[in-house]
Amino acid sequence: MKKVWSVIAGGTRTAKFGLVVVAFWIVVAVFAPLLAPYGVNDIDIAQRLAPPCWAEGGTMAHILGTDQLGRDVLSRLLYGSRISLMVGVVAGCVGLVIGVTLGLLAGYFGGWVDAVISRMIDVMLSFPFIFLAMLLVAVLGSSLVNVILVLGITGWVPYARTVRAQTLSVREKEFVKSAGAMGCGSLRIICKHILPSVIDSAIILGTMDVGTNILSEASLTFLGLGIPPGIATWGNMIATGRDYIFTAGWLTVIPGVALLVGCLSINFVGDWLRDIRDPRLRGVDNTKANQNLEREEAT
C-alpha cells in the first residue's frame, strides 16, 4: 500500500488530477441515489426548463436547472455517471478478454490460426468502427446490454494487435522455450508463462479504452442508435438538449462538460500508467499509443 502511494505521489500533475477525478467519479456513481436531490425520473412540469442557479431566473432548488419535463439535471447527471462508467468498464473488459485471447492464440500458434485472426483484424479495420457498431445496435435492438456488448465486440482489435505482437517476441524467450522443453502443454505455457508478460500493456490499453468506450456510447446514443431515450445517460441528455439548444443551452453544455472532464481524466491516468510501464515513452507518444488512435478517430 505504501508503495502504491509513493508511485502516485511521483506521478505528474495531470495524473494526479486524473486520479482524483476518477476516484470522485466512482464515489458519485456508487452513491448516486444518496447524493441526488431528486429521483432520476421525477417529473415536475411546473418547473420545466428552469435555468441553472448561476443563470438569471435560476434557483438553488435545481442547482443545474431542469430539462423539458422538469427533471432535475444534477440528479440525472449523477445517475448518468453510473451508466457511463459501467458501459466504459464492462465494454472494455469484454474487448480485453476477446482481444487478449485472440492475440495470444495468433501469436503463440502462428500458421493458419494467425492467418485467420489476422484477416479478422483486417476486416475490422477496413471500415469505421462506429459504422459497425451502429449496424450491430440497429440489428440487435438498442438496449444497455446490447450497447455494452457491441462496444466490446467491436473494440477487441487494439488488444489483439498488441498482444499478438508481444506474444510473438515472448514466445522466443528462453523461459518459454524451457517450459516447453520440460513438457508443459500449450495451454499451461500460454496461461502461466506468456499471459503474465503481456497482460500489463493490455490493461493499460484497457484504461484508455474506458474513455473511448464512454465517448462511443455517447456518440451512438446521440445518433439514436445507442441506449434508449428513457435511460438517463450523458449521451441521451446531450441528444435531448439538442432540441432545446436555442432556448436552454445548459441542457447540452452540462452533460458534455461531465463527459469531457471524465474522459480527459481517464486518458491522463492511462498515459501515466503507460509511462510507468515504459518510461522511454514519457512525453513521446509512440507507436504503442498510436494504436489506440484508430478507434479514437472513429468516435
Binding site: 471500415f127 459504422f131 439514436g224 446531450i238 439548444i245 474522459c263 512525453g283 484508430e294 472513429a298
Partner: protein, 311 residues
C-alpha cells in the same frame, strides 16, 4: 516489389470479400426489413408478399449467391425506403461528404504539421504546452458535442453563422472546424512525436556538427524523416474522414453519405446499407493499401518482404 504489390492487392480483395460476407450475415441473420414495411393493419399474407418481392423467401445461400453476383455486375439494387437505385443515392450524397472532408483536410493538415513541428522543436515552451493541451483535449471531446457547442456560441449567442443546412459557404464553416479539429489533433500528435523521435537521432547531431544552420537541419534532415510516418497517417485519414462524417453531418444536417447511412440503418434499408458499407470498406481498404505501398516506397529501410499480415 511487384510480388509484394500483387500480394497486397489480393489481401485487399480478400478483406473486401469478407466485409461483404460479414454485412450479409449480420443483416440476414438478425433483421427482417419486411416487418418494417408493413402497417399494423397488414395481414400475414402481405408480409409474405413483401418478403417474396424482396427475395427474402429464398434459402439463405441462394440469397447470398444472388447478392454476390449482383455486386459483381455492379447492380446494388433499389433502396427499400427511397425506392430508387442505390447507386444514384450514393452519387447524390457523395459530393457533400467529399467537399466537407477535403476542405477539412486542406485546413487541418498544414496547420497540424506546422504546430507539431514547432512544438517538438520548442519542446516544453509555452507554445508546446498550449499545443499539447489542445491535442489532449481534442482526444477527449466528443465531436457531436463540440459541434453543438459551436452552434450554441456562433448561431444562438452571436448569431454569426447558420446552425445547419448546406449550399452556402457560410454553412460549411462550423462543420469544417469540427471535422478539421478532430483530424488535426491526431496529426499534430503524430507529427510532434515522430519529430521528437527524429531529433534524438545521430544524423541530426552529425548535420549540426558539420556546421549546418538550425533551420536547415530541422527542415532538411528532421522534417523530411519525420514526415514519413505522417504521410501514411494522412492517407489513413481519408478513411476516417468518412467515419467522422457520420457524426458531423448529423449534427449540422448536411446531406452527405454519413447521414444517409444513419437513416439507412435505422430503416433497415438493406441494399443501401450493403452498398454504403462496401463503398466505405473499399475506400478504407484502398487507402490502407496505398498508404502501405507508399510507406515502403518512401522509406528504403522497410523491406516489403517482411511486411504483410495484420501488423
Amino acid at each position: 516489389m511487384v510480388k509484394y504489390l500483387i500480394k497486397r492487392l489480393l489481401q485487399t480483395a480478400l478483406v473486401l470479400f469478407l466485409v461483404m460476407t460479414l454485412v450479409f450475415v449480420i443483416l440476414r441473420v438478425v433483421g427482417d426489413p419486411a416487418k418494417m414495411m408493413v402497417t399494423p393493419e397488414s395481414t400475414y399474407e402481405d408480409l409474405e408478399n413483401i418478403r417474396r418481392m424482396l427475395g427474402l423467401d429464398q434459402p439463405i445461400w441462394k440469397q447470398y449467391i444472388q447478392y454476390l453476383s449482383d455486386i459483381f455486375r455492379g447492380d446494388f439494387g433499389n433502396s427499400y425506403y427511397f425506392d430508387r437505385p442505390v447507386i444514384e443515392l450514393l452519387q447524390e450524397r457523395l459530393p457533400a461528404t467529399l467537399k466537407l472532408g477535403f476542405i477539412s483536410m486542406l485546413v487541418s493538415i498544414p496547420l497540424a504539421v506546422l504546430f507539431g513541428v514547432l512544438s517538438a522543436v520548442k519542446r516544453n515552451s509555452p507554445l508546446d504546452n498550449a499545443v499539447t493541451a489542445l491535442v489532449v483535449t481534442g482526444r477527449s471531446v466528443p465531436a457531436f458535442w463540440f459541434g453543438l457547442l459551436m452552434i450554441l456560441v456562433f448561431s444562438v449567442k452571436l448569431q454569426w453563422l447558420p446552425a445547419s443546412g448546406y449550399g452556402e459557404a457560410k454553412q460549411l464553416v462550423m462543420p469544417v472546424i469540427v471535422m478539421a479539429s478532430g483530424m488535426g489533433a491526431s496529426v499534430t500528435r503524430l507529427t510532434r512525436s515522430s519529430m521528437l523521435d527524429v531529433m534524438r537521432q545521430d544524423y541530426m547531431t552529425t548535420a549540426r556538427s558539420k556546421g549546418a544552420d538550425e533551420p536547415s537541419v530541422i527542415m532538411k534532415h528532421g522534417l523530411h524523416n519525420a514526415l514519413l510516418s505522417v504521410v501514411t497517417f494522412v492517407a489513413l485519414q481519408i478513411g476516417y474522414m468518412f467515419a467522422g462524417s457520420v457524426v458531423v453531418e448529423s449534427v449540422f444536417a448536411l446531406p452527405g453519405i454519413g447521414r444517409l447511412i444513419v437513416t439507412a440503418i435505422k430503416d433497415y434499408d438493406f441494399p443501401l446499407i450493403q452498398a454504403s458499407t462496401l463503398v466505405f470498406a473499399l475506400i478504407f481498404s484502398l487507402t490502407n493499401c496505398v498508404a502501405d505501398i507508399c510507406y515502403t516506397l518512401i522509406d528504403p529501410r522497410i523491406s516489403y518482404k517482411s511486411k504483410g499480415g495484420a501488423g
